[in-house]
Symmetry: C2
Amino acid sequence: MPNQTYFLGIDGGGSKCKARLEDAQGNLLAESIAGPANPVRDRQLALSSIQQASQEAIELAGLPASTLAQTYAGIGLAGLNLPYYKNTMQEWQHPFAGLALSTDLHIACLGAHNSDSGAIVIVGTGSSAIVCKDAEQFEYGGHGFLLGDKGSGAWFGLQTVRWALESFDGIKPSSPFIEAVCRFFGCTDAAPLVEKHLASSPAEFAKLAPLVFEYAEQQDPVAAAIVQEGAAYLSALAQQLLSHKPQRLAFIGGLAHKIQPWLDEDIQHSLRAPFQSPESGAIILARKQFQVLEKAL
Amino acid sequence: MPNQTYFLGIDGGGSKCKARLEDAQGNLLAESIAGPANPVRDRQLALSSIQQASQEAIELAGLPASTLAQTYAGIGLAGLNLPYYKNTMQEWQHPFAGLALSTDLHIACLGAHNSDSGAIVIVGTGSSAIVCKDAEQFEYGGHGFLLGDKGSGAWFGLQTVRWALESFDGIKPSSPFIEAVCRFFGCTDAAPLVEKHLASSPAEFAKLAPLVFEYAEQQDPVAAAIVQEGAAYLSALAQQLLSHKPQRLAFIGGLAHKIQPWLDEDIQHSLRAPFQSPESGAIILARKQFQVLEKAL
């Protein structure tokens, strides 16, 4: 089948890059995972992770490497809402028959609703939200670890470390949760806690999130206060999405299930289960873009 | 006077390094300024700034370079409360007759009260606090831009950018202050504001602090809310200092005068004016340490 066409969907993130390969008929041929692919942090690393994931998918499907030239790729990446990073990716001399680029948010939304129309809040290491309505997309939140990402795993960890430091200073109360955090890090005063976290990545802060939820579920006052503050922000984000009257609203990401019971009740009632993965959403993106193109040819 | 002894006081900070040279009798011989000297951020740069400031002070005093070998230096640096950075500075093959090392906080406190006993809150690009009681020191706050430094210039700027981003998202209200911030950066949506601040330094965020205070003084609800949150934290810090019953309490640093009217009333009444500069405090440190040593010889 020399004229066979393939579709590759790639979801690039700060910790890994996932790829999914389908044939023209929509049959799954292979899935693969490579390293980090966040062009905001490291463009070269992102490109090499994307290439590695693509080649591996082709190989796992038992196809020759040259198949990439018959493959239409859809790729979703963080930061592609920012013109600088979008331009930098568009300059890439990619090996595909065609490349459809969008944000990680957009492909996740396409996947979650298997449609152009819907809304999602992502709650993982970071947090962000999007509404998709046909060709239009409205993004909310995100803004990164320093400036935003409230209610995310990294934010829960950061708030925890900040609270522990203020409790050592006598500015904020301690609690069984804060004591557990200090045991976790083997700290009896502020200095080692500061030293340990001066250069911590968002992913390292996010490792504390399960402990925050464990204690919040046991009504620890500090852990519950931190989770409530994050949940209030995520409820407000979801409220903004609902103002666009999307067909469906879903929460996705590693903390989606954990945060759900803490959201405002009306938001909880609005939630629908996601249909498909972000990498499937990336394939939807590629199919739409190149179907249009093929029709035009 | 081949046996003449000199004292050098150095206050090393994230943006500059200030030196003050006195003779044994306490007469001011010279003052100088060199580049950044924060060993947590860049140890080599800190050492070379310290050396440059020292040599320049000696030169300005019209003394030969070899005078450093007759000079007892007191140096205060950020991060020297952390064992790793203290060790790293103690390994330095310094050019002085003797070197007394302490934190920037400690020398600032010695200078502000011209004494071993007193308490200060520093509010500049960062924020932190210390009580000195004879040989003992109790530090509060600080913890750096990511983990702490609440109520500091950098923190006021960061809160402002975060608020502006949430107001673009419809999560928080706007105000004349937020509109002024957007004009200041020439932004009409979130993306350029995020792009501009992804890699901003604390000093760059701190540049927004005067605008925050300008609008807070005009009762702008957003600017006032940000200043009040910072001031509440600084009041709590000061309260912790007062629990040690220090002889005097002073606020120092570039924002000390601006923040004063926003502090709790009892804190405002406790404040005393600082006597001397941190670099004078560094000289007090060196005099104390090497007087003891000379007596012992």
